[in-house]
Amino acid sequence: MSLIELQRDMRAWLTSEDAVAAARFGEAAAPGLRVYQNNYRAQLAACLEESFEHTRDWIGGEAFHRAVVAHVDRLAPSSWTLDAYARDFPATLEILYLADPEVAELGWLEMALGEAFVAADADAVSAGELGDVDWDRATLRITPTLDLGSLTTNAPAIWSALATGEVPPAVEFLPEPGAILVWRHGDVAQFRAIDQYEHQALLSVRAGMSFAKLCDLMVEAFGQEIGIARAGGMLGQWLADGLVVGIAT
């Protein structure tokens, strides 16, 4: 057997317990193959347990274990870093908990907080740097740590309660679908629930839309006075959050 055939057989054994592939290693290899199989699954389970502590608290240890088994069966790891294996777990939770969307939203929040923690560094713009900005031509550069997810429940409130050891609130659905943003300010990963307007605004600004164009769109949507006030309010919030890391004019 060539080396590549051997490695394909080992992959088949690890990911799907392929008995035919295992048999090609010979009878004497059976105990060792069991060790590698156990190590493989235990390693992936430990990664998910560590990454989704509060999601596990919410659904309970046994249900979480079933979700882990389903995820390991559904998806094999591919990245150089084991941490990346957490990225797709919220999608598995979405499949398993169709009727309980807060579970996948909790999972997404935990995953995004973990990713923000090690995202690229960028210093936030300070208030002192705003004096000379020509806002008619300004384009904002948003922190590379930002991630945006959709939100239909009070998952952020549930997560906060679980994180501080309080009794979590009952699930509530939002009056209308919103979004959640996760980012890192300094060394601290943070999150905030937002409405669809701010969600769209952040997506557009991150993609390069000028602040003046954003103001125009807000005026179109809400009228002159409220539109400008809302655009200014969002900008003030983004600056206070440390989301803006550069302003080009």
């Binding site: 057997m1 060539s2 080396l3 590549i4 051997l6 490695q7 394909r8 080992m10 992959r11 690890l14 990911t15 290693f25 010979g26 004497a28 290899a29 105990p31 060792g32 193959l33 069991r34 060790v35 590698y36 190590n39 493989y40 390693q43 992936l44 094999a76 790891p77 591919s78 990245s79 150089w80 870093t81 084991l82 294996y85 923000a116 923690f117 090690v118 995202a119 690229a120 560094d121 590379p144 740590t145 890192r184 060394d187």
Partner: protein
Amino acid sequence: MTIAPFSGFGLGLRKPHYAEFLDTPIAVDFVEVISENFMVDGGRPRHILRDVRARYPVALHGVSMSVGSADGVDGAYLARLRALVDEIDPLFVSDHLSWSRIEGFNSHDLLPLPYTEEALDLVCANIARAQDALGREMLIENPSTYIDFASADMTEWQFLDAMCARTGCGLLLDVNNVFVSATNHGFDPIAYLDGVPHDRVRQIHLAGHSRGAEMLIDTHDRPVPASVWNLYAYVMPKLGPVAVMIERDDDIPPLAELLAELGTARTIARGALREAA
């Protein structure tokens, strides 16, 4: 081999001990970190590593290079590691004689290789590519293994010897792994320690293991046992200057316990070297 010899005693730096390493001087000559934990884009882990590096020499120890992959080493991985190497200027860069990745699948385990001529050619080509990409020679660690391939053309120590000769790499000799594999596969650990190229050993790992249902498992979750200390005492007089460290990855005890274990490593090394003289 151009890797500068370094003589000293160190610890694997693990999360529960970050604060102590940053707050107070710790009696170690170097620390070793898991490379992949710091090959991230930014954030607190990179800041911590920079602060630690300002206080101690740092060895980068990888678990995902996969020098045994039949489809080669991953260029993007090497570029990421190179960036970390350039920033940290580590004492050593090491990884394992194993494979973990094939055709887009990454097992995140140190999987075994059959010690054949085909595997030797492949491993040497992969190490050569990695060393080119990193701009420096590496240390390769002997693994704990749970399968003994009937197709092998040579022993593990013969494989390591040939690998070092062909690539110029050095060895990270994990004494616990020698004991675990020797027990699991029934070879003589003394023959192994006699057979490895002593002049290539730049670093030693000492760790504990546990007894699984059918074989010993390299768990790094308990103190170094007497069986491993004995092998360490046997091999030390054969080696030149070497960086010795305790490797603990699970059930991590207070730092003082690991420092006491490192004290044992110092004492045994002194005794073994005195006896040999």
